[in-house]
Structure formats: C-alpha cells, structure tokens
C-alpha cells in the first residue's frame, strides 16, 4: 500500500507534524491484553463492585425490570453500529423506530412535538429552560427547590454560561412547591417556571394550580420528571397545560449503568417546533408515494445554522430511545398496571415504616413510588441497612439541612412484600 501511495516508510505520512513535537517515546500505558486476558482483568476489577441485595433508592435513577427482548433487540448490530441516520434510504429502520418512539413520547407527555432524545433528564431540563428564555426573550428562570438537586445544579451551569438568572422557589410543609411564595417571585423578567412532578420528594405537585398561576402571570411552565413510569398513571403534563416537558426516560428499559447512558426526553407545544434542539424524525413520502422517514427541520441544527442553531447537539442517546420504544411496545397497556403495582407496593412500605417507633412521614401528600420518611437519624438508618446489604433510600440532610433525618425511599416492582417486611423488621429492632 505504501508503494501505491508513493512513500517508503509510514513516518513520511506524518511529516506534517513538526519533528520536535512528535512523540519520541511510546505512551506510558499498561501492556496490551489479549481478549482472554482482558476478560480476566475486567473480572478482577469488577470484584470491586457490589450490588445491594435490595435497592430502595430512586432519586433520579430507578431499578425496574428489563424484559429480555429489549436487550436482545438493541443488540442487533445493524442498530448499534450505525451512525446518525444521515442517509435515509439505508436508515429507514432506525428512522421509523425513532418516529414510533416520538409518537410514544407524545402520548405519554400529552405534548405536540418532541425530538429523537437528549443526553439525560438534567440536560433536557436545562435546554427546555433555554428554549423558554429565547421564546419569551426574558432573562429569568424560576425553579422549585423540590426539583432534583443535580438537575438544578446542571441548570445553574448552563444558565451561568448562557447568561441568564435562576431563582429558586421554596417548598411548603406538604412537600409541594410553595405557590404563594412562587407567586411573589414571578416578575416581569420571568420567562419560565420549572416544576418536577412527581417532585424530588416523590410528592405529586398541584399542577392544576400551577397552570392557573402561569396563565395568570403570563409565563411558561416547564414540567420535569425523573420517574418516567409515573406518566403511565398520572394526568399528562400536556393535558394539565404545560408548555414544555423535560425528563429522564431511564425507567423504560435502560439499565442503571452507574448513572449513564440514560435517556433525555424533551417535548413541547407546537409553538416550539422550530426551536427544538437535537434531531427530529419526520414522516414523508418517497418518489413513488411510499411512506418513509427522514431527519427533518435540519435548518435548526448546528451543521447548517452553526452559531445560530437552536442548540449544539449532534450525538444524542438514540440507542436508549430505541430501548425505551421496545420496552413500551412490550408493555402496551400493561404499563399502567406496572405503575399501579409500584404505587401499591410503595404505599405498603410507607405504611409499615410509619409504624416504627420514632419514624413518621415527612409530607402527608399523595405520592407515586417515592416518599420521604422522617427518621431519628438518617445516617444510622443507612448504615444499619447497608450492614444487611440493603441500599437504603436517599438521605436528605446534605441537600436539604431543614429536612434533617429525612430519607427518600423508592419502591418499584423489583421489591417484594416479603423483602419489605424483612427491612421493616431490621429497622424495628431499634
């Protein structure tokens, strides 16, 4: 091949790199491993990980069952070894799958437009805020303190870089965003209110009242979710009157993966169509009138509009979106039943934990599959559970000093009654 190229040595092809800047040594990396050695090595490293016998933590990442067919199908290498479907004729498979995914997202959220995915729930929320800022041409975002702390931190980072202001609205004694405080915070500069539902404490917000407030004040409302399964049961944000919906789709067939990759979901009313970030798949016709799918509205995107693009997104989380649509196709109407099971089991554990001496519910408000317990000492509780191989809940002391002793527990379909009874007996022992 070098002869065809017309050189004698491969080094000649690197001659544009100034000689003194070329690396004159080998990189200092561990010696190469054969496949067999690598497998051994990774096994050894993996031993440093330990799965809890029981997981009672949600807080933005949920332990749900993943049907075998999901993993099997996303393992089709025609999907996972492909790039973004720029060449529609040989990418109809993923394009149709994403069109179907978008349809499912619209149904779940009750919104009118969506895209092919965002990085995760937190960045979806931040980008939704930027959409609102640009739409209303106002510089301020008001976010409830009952929104996931990490999501709020990501928003601060994005808003700081973009140059807009973020104010936080307090929550009340019922664990819901304090509407009266919110009302006084909204000013002439406010573009959007950001509310999580169910919120970080698992509590269902009063979306009807929030929508009334946003209409009265003439601002936009962005509804955020971290537990996508709740959408199967609860009135959709769209039905309630949200302008933007952003959230995390990990619950739909995506492994916990120590935090990623996950699935950012973003949906909006039709007014936002041409302001959406990222890839959008649209249906169209081919030359013979057959239905087909393409990446559409690309004039919004970075490769065409450059600095005037609606966002910088290029790669997204398509394979996770595919996993979610396969998951939802398998579930069908059973998704609602699964959500119900989550609710019933979570309420069972809440009731049992409330009976423990010194324990009580932090907020007496309807919830989905997460709830906050006030415990005598969250650290002691977590340690005792860890001692028994249980990953307890998410202690609130760090993010919310005013909720000292509070722990968010999450119960999904993965936790059985027997396991819950056992956990309660562990804790009852004092």
């Amino acid at each position: 091949m070098l002869t065809v190229i017309g050189v004698e040595r491969v080094e000649e092809l690197f001659s544009d790199i100034p000689l003194h800047l070329r690396l004159s040594r080998l990189l200092d990396l561990p010696s190469p491993l054969t496949e067999q050695e690598l497998t051994r090595k990774m096994e050894a490293i993996r031993e440093g990980n330990r799965l809890p016998g029981l997981c009672l933590t949600g807080a933005g990442a949920y332990h749900h069952y993943i049907p075998a067919a999901v993993r099997h199908l996303i393992g089709r290498s025609e999907f996972y070894t492909a790039y973004t479907p720029y060449q529609a004729e040989i990418s109809q498979g993923i394009l149709q799958a994403i069109y179907e995914y978008q349809t499912m997202v619209l149904s779940l959220t009750g919104m009118e437009v969506t895209n092919a995915s965002m990085y995760d729930g937190a960045t979806a929320m931040a980008e939704a805020c930027l959409m609102a800022i640009k739409m209303n041409n106002l510089p301020q975002i008001i976010v409830s303190r009952a929104v996931h702390p990490e999501y709020r931190k990501v928003l601060m980072t994005y808003a700081g870089a973009y140059g807009c202001e973020v104010k936080e609205a307090p929550f009340g004694g019922d664990g819901r965003t304090d509407l009266r405080a919110l009302e006084t915070l909204v000013g002439k500069e406010t573009a959007v209110l950001v509310i999580q539902n169910p919120n970080f404490f698992g509590v269902l917000e009063d979306l009807a009242a929030l929508c009334q407030l946003k209409r009265m004040k003439g601002v936009l409302l962005s509804v955020v979710f971290t537990e996508a399964l709740s959408l199967a049961l609860l009135k959709s944000p769209g039905q309630m009157g949200a302008d933007l919906v952003a959230g995390e789709g990990q619950s739909f067939g995506i492994p916990l993966n120590y935090g990623g990759p996950y699935l950012g979901i973003l949906a909006a009313t039709r007014a936002f169509l041409r302001r959406m970030p990222g890839r959008i798949v649209g249906a169209t016709k081919d030359g013979e009138g057959k239905r087909g799918y393409v990446l559409t509205l690309q004039a919004r995107e970075q490769h065409i509009r450059r600095e005037k693009a609606t966002s910088n997104i290029c790669s997204n989380e398509t394979l996770c979106a595919l996993a979610a649509s396969i998951y939802l196709s398998l579930m069908g109407k059973n998704l609602k039943k699964l959500a119900e099971l989550n609710v019933k089991r979570a309420h069972y554990l809440m009731k049992r934990l409330s009976e423990i001496k010194g324990w009580g519910r932090m907020f007496n408000t309807p919830f989905f599959n997460e709830f906050v317990m006030r415990t005598p000492n969250s650290r002691e509780v977590m340690e005792r559970l860890q001692g028994a191989g249980v990953m307890g809940g998410y202690p609130l002391d760090g993010d919310y000093p005013e909720l000292k002793g509070g722990i968010i527990f999450c119960v999904t379909e993965m936790v059985t009654r027997r396991e819950m009874d056992w956990v309660v007996s562990l804790l009852e022992r004092g």
Partner: protein
C-alpha cells in the same frame, strides 16, 4: 415492496409482550392511594405479543446499515469496528445494575475504571486532567467553552468573541454561542491550513479562544501548529482542540505538547465505542494545568487504596449532567485502551493514515483533490469535475454508492470545498475492502460520464427512494396519529 406498517398499526387490543408480577400487598383501590383528579384515562401504546415486537424490530434492523453490515467511510465520524468483547464485558450486572448512588465502598470497580481511564486520557493527550462527565463530543465542547468563560471571568477579563476556522465542525460555533460568545471565522490558506495572516489579524485581546480541529476537517495536519498556538497565547487566548479527529495521531503526538489548552475527546469515535445509530457517545474534556480548577464536578479521586467522588472544588464550572457520565461507554473505551496498549494505539493511527492515503492515491486520477498533499486519517475530494462534465452531483454519487453496497462518505462538508466528498476509511478495514470501494467509486465516475441518469436517479436498490425532505420540513409530521 409496500409500506412497512408502524408498530401502532400492528397493535391488537388485549395483547401484551410482558406479564406484570401479581400484587402481593393488601389490595386497595388505586383511588384511595392517589386521588382520581391526578389520574389519566387514556394512554395510547401499541399492544403486541413478544414475538410480534421481536419481528417488528428485527424487520426494522434489516432496513438499517451499520459497520457490521459493511464499509462505512463516513468522514469525521470514525466508523471503525467495535470489538465484540467490549459489548460482552459491559453486560455483567455488577456494571450494569449499579445505581449511581450505590455507596462508594460498593462501587470501587466502577470508580477505578473512571479514575484509570482519566489517567490514560491524560497520558494519551498530554493534558493535566480530564473530566469524563460530558455525554457527547458536542457536550464536551460546550463544557470546554464553559471552562474558557469561567477562566476569563475569574481573571476579570471580558472576552466576547471566539474564532473558528472556515473548516470547523458546526458544533464549534454552536457550542460557543451557548456560552454567549460571538463567533468569527478565520479563513484557510491555499494549502488547506488555517491562514496565519488572517489569524494574526483576527486574534485580539477580545478573543477568548480559537477552536481548532487538528488534523482539520480536510484531513490535513495544521503544520503551523506552533505558530498558531503562539499567536493565540501571546494575546492571552485559549487554544481549544476539537478532538473529533484524534484517531489520526494516537501515539504520534499529543495535543498538550502542541500547545492546546483544552480538548474534548469523542470516545465513540477514537476509542471504538459503538455510535448506537446516533448515540450514546461520550466526550471527556481534558485541560492544561492552569484550567484544572474549572473542570466539572464531581471528580473521581484516589485516596490511598480507595476511590471516591469529590465535588469540593470552589472554582468548578459545576455539573454539566446528572451523575458522572455515560459510564458504560467509558467502560468500553477503557477495555479498548487496555487491549491495545501504547503500541496498539500507535498502530491504529498509522493504519488509519495509510488507509486514507491509499484511497487518496487510488482515486486521485478519477476525482479532483482540492488540496493535493498527504492526508491524515481522511481525505477530501471534490465532485466538481463530474458536476461540470455531466451535471452529476456529489449527492447523486453518494446515493449511487448505496447500490454498490457501501455507506456513502460524508458529503458537502467541509463547507469550503464545493461538492465535497469526505472519506474516512478507519484502520479496521482491509486492503481488499478499500480496493472494492475504489472500484465502485471508479465505476461511478465512469457511469457519471457515460450514463449520468443512472447516477442521478440512484439509489435503485433501497426500499424507499428519493424521500421528499421539503415536504417533511414544510408539513412536519413528528408523531403518528390514528
């Protein structure tokens, strides 16, 4: 062939592909637990058996083209083979089912992988530190520009502008704009490098950074890199490196040694993690010593024999996503680096560069080269000869390649090359594959001369042809309605 039905059209009431476990807690009506006013009634999801779902997605997969299907020379995207062992390694529950808030003492394996990957990247790219948090290349760029903004903010300098070459990826200006920077473009010279004269003229103390891809998107190494770094640094600016093309120089040179202050690396390109039909990717961002304080949090640290997450860094830009990054992508990249080692990585770059130059040499008689010099990992032709002679456009030739069984190259990019054809073969392809591709390209060049209509009306072999993109954009239909 008829339309392929949507999964919703295959739905039949009452079917399901998954059984819900029975309720083992005392049954109470749902309305007693959650007030009716909160509950929805309608949810339109398809109802199918497991087999029907499997057949549907299997049929869709057969309408898709991946690296495993065939040669995928999509320039700038580095569509190399994704070793199967890496897919197997990540499947263990101890990796996959680990909750991000799993206690650190139970997560030492995952933390170790992140910690060591960070060190590997520091060594490979010659940077002082890396953050693994960004979820994609463009996300890494955004993170890099946020660092840049914070750095000048802390120095009390208001620098409002960034520079990008006219060959830059679209993400560079878009990421900069998200940080409130104005974007100005620097011209390329006749050799396909950034024009030093123009850069000198543009680079003022109002400029925060130059975003440079090296090798650039013409596949050419910026041979004046030292002067470029100098011009930027003399004015106190930051030299930002878009690492999308890092496959070209692994083990041969290091951006840190070339003068780059920030660089993002696309693990899904350079380090062989699969692209997933659009994602997930991963875009770690590396920085020079003076910028370490600004990296996102949390960071993975080693304290004695244990690994931990720390977020107590007062000057950090903050978080750029939830949790710690696309962990399972990081894990694949870690395994890839461990399999290859230093010599393997150097061979990757050598083979990638040889393959691209081989294509350049073989196709040169048939297609015009806008910049005729050795290329790095990709080569850029122009289809202007064919356009002039017979009206056949690059887009037509790209579609015609599909009939020959190949994924088309990147076309119409970089923007400064009219009718651009940007071919990146990667190191994992054999000479036989490259020869077959060259024969197809040569055959298409002949067809363009002799039977231009055959090329203009391509593709002929796909289930749909000539999709109406104008219709799609004019009457957007982004979700199915019954």
């Amino acid at each position: 062939m008829t339309d392929m039905e949507l999964i919703f059209e295959k739905s039949r009431p009452g079917r399901s592909g998954y059984d819900i476990p029975s309720c083992d807690v005392p049954e109470r009506p749902l309305e007693e637990l959650i007030d009716l006013e909160f509950l929805r009634d309608e949810l339109n999801l398809p109802e199918l058996s497991e087999l029907e779902v499997v057949r549907h997605y299997t049929a869709l997969s057969r309408r898709n083209f991946g690296v495993d299907t065939g040669f995928y020379p999509l320039g700038s995207c580095t569509m190399k083979y994704n070793p199967k062992i890496n897919e197997e390694l990540v499947k263990h529950p101890e990796w996959e089912m680990l909750h991000p808030y799993n206690p650190p003492q139970w997560s030492q394996g995952s933390l170790r992988v992140m910690y060591e990957l960070r060190l590997f990247l520091c060594e490979i790219f010659g940077m002082a530190d890396f953050s693994l948090q960004p979820a994609a290349g463009a996300h890494g760029e955004l993170t890099g520009m946020m660092i840049c903004k914070k750095y000048f903010g802390r120095k009390g300098e208001r620098r409002k502008r960034v520079l990008v070459p006219d060959t830059a990826h679209g993400t560079n200006p878009a990421s900069s704009a998200l940080c409130g920077f104005e974007v100005a473009t620097v011209k390329s010279d006749t050799d396909g490098n950034i024009s030093l004269d123009h850069l000198r003229q543009m680079m003022t103390e109002e400029v925060a950074a130059l975003l440079l891809t090296n090798p650039n998107t013409l596949g050419l190494f910026e041979r004046n890199i030292e002067e470029i770094a100098d011009i930027v640094h003399v004015k106190g600016g930051i030299l930002y490196g878009d690492g999308a093309n890092a496959n070209a120089f692994l083990g041969w040179c290091r951006p840190g040694d070339l003068g780059f202050d920030i660089i993002q690396v696309n693990l899904h390109k350079t380090f062989s993690t699969p692209h997933g039909a659009g994602g997930p990717g991963s875009g770690p961002v590396g920085v020079a010593p003076h910028l370490v304080d600004f990296l996102p949090v949390p960071r993975v640290v080693r304290e004695g024999d244990t690994y931990a997450l720390k977020d107590d860094y007062p000057h950090t830009i903050g978080r750029v996503r939830s949790f710690y990054g696309n962990f399972s992508v990081l894990l694949r990249a870690y395994a890839y680096i461990r399999s290859l080692g230093a010599e393997g990585l150097k061979k990757v770059a050598a083979a990638a560069v040889i393959n691209a130059n081989y294509l350049r040499a073989r196709l040169k008689p048939f297609f015009d080269l806008p910049y005729d010099r050795f290329c790095m990992h990709e080569c850029v032709f122009t289809g202007r000869r064919q356009l002039k002679a017979s009206g056949v456009r690059t887009a037509h030739m790209a579609k015609r390649l599909i009939d020959y069984g190949f994924h088309p190259p990147t076309v119409y990019f970089p923007l400064i090359v009219p009718e651009a054809i940007m071919i990146e073969p990667t190191e994992t392809e054999s000479r036989e594959v490259l020869d077959r591709f060259c024969e197809a390209m040569i055959s298409i060049a002949r067809e363009a001369e002799e039977e231009p209509e055959k090329v203009k009306n391509a593709p002929w072999t796909t289930p749909v042809k000539h999709l109406d993109e104008v219709l799609a954009a004019r009457e957007p239909d982004v979700g199915w309605q019954a």
